[in-house]
Amino acid sequence: MRPSDEMRRQARDLSISVRPELRLIERRLFLRQTLSLGALTLLTGCDATAPSGVQSILTNMSKFNDAVQAAIFRQDRLAPTFSEQDITKPFPFNAYYSESEAPVVDLATYKLELSGMIADRTPWSVEALRGLPQQSQITRHCCVEGWSAIGKWGGVPFADFLKRVGADLTARYVGFRCADNYFTSIDMASALHPQTILALTYADEPLPVKYGAPMKLRIPTKLGFKNPKHIMAIFVTDTYPGGYWEDQGYNWFGGM
């Protein structure tokens, strides 16, 4: 008898002697598999995401993807720019509420609040912001849903602004709080990107309510939900601030 056949015979004998235990293990495996299958079917529910073990893997992978995106991000890598005739008309309104519910901010009393790791936290009026050197861009806004639209925004380069107010540029995060209770945050490297601007105009006109008056962050190196509108306060911090969509499971870095 050849060795392989001998081994096979021994294995068979062994499997007969441990058959009851094997059956138990099989049943346990089967139960576990059906459990995870059942959990998978739960995924179709809106609140349920994934069973906790799987969810922790997915959450960790999303954090890993944050790190990967930070690593491939280049400050001198510019988003493609377009010409006037490429602009999408009408540029779509998009928010977690309808257009009629967009908050109307009183420009006369508006003051942009600054807090956190910033030397000069004096609030800024829209007039004062308009007095700073401006820059405009025609870039593509990409929504995490997949659609995209090309628009023209103008305003204050965010890097200039952060330097002017003495923000700690070695801090990790810049956070935004908005008049529509939206909030989000970005990494400092992306905040300092030359195309990241505090947008005060759309199509050379003062930013209308539907596009985020009086001011929105235009950051063409990130997805749409990282472009907060109706910004009321900006803060610089080393503590992870999260965001409205990010806290619900959307990837935080949201880079493009």
């Binding site: 739960l42 997915l58 959450t59 992978m61 999303s62 491939i72 849903e145 997949g146 959307y250 880079g255």
Partner: protein, 226 residues
Amino acid sequence: MSASTLNAASGVRSARLRVHPLAVRLWHWINAFAIVIMITSGWRIYDASPVFPGIRFPPQITLGGWLAGALQWHFAAMWLLMINFAVYILYGVMSGHFARKMTPIAPRDVVHDLGAALSFKLAHNDVTTYNAVQKLAYVGVLAAILITILAGLAIWKPVQFQELAWLFGGYDGARVVHFFGMAAIVLFLIIHLALVTLVPSTFLPMITGDAKPAGAAPQHQRSNAR
């Protein structure tokens, strides 16, 4: 003389035929797992903003529960898919697996084998070699996976990988290519699963790695007798 009789005559190896090396089996099942996750989560992502308004996927057959969940699955499984794919391509080229099993693909053989397959006269008694249609389908689906991965990367990072996006005709072009790449893979999957059902003797070797020689499978001999 077939490989089976060679083995039996030499008596060096056991009576069973080596069909798939462990590396190929591991690749196959990891790839199958990753592809199913990518497709079902991708359908949920697609539905958030369909490329073709007339085409939507029923939520019941998608993965993730909602857009954020689907994106988490998609961008987690993409690493499994890409790393597994890259390792397989390296293995296939360096081990000679591709040269040995996927080539040559002569157009004449493809036409002949396709005709034989459609008239149910194609021989399957030797599962260690691929027929010409099989070779073409495997090379084709590998190309489809590669193109879909590249178009996916262009959609994921249209700024950082803008040259790649440009190659696909821009951001929207990459979305169209990504969709048709998926469609090609799904088409392959349907045919692949249908053929495994028709020729079940090909299924177990992808798990165990070996198969009984042709003589031990009478149900196929009958269909191969001409």
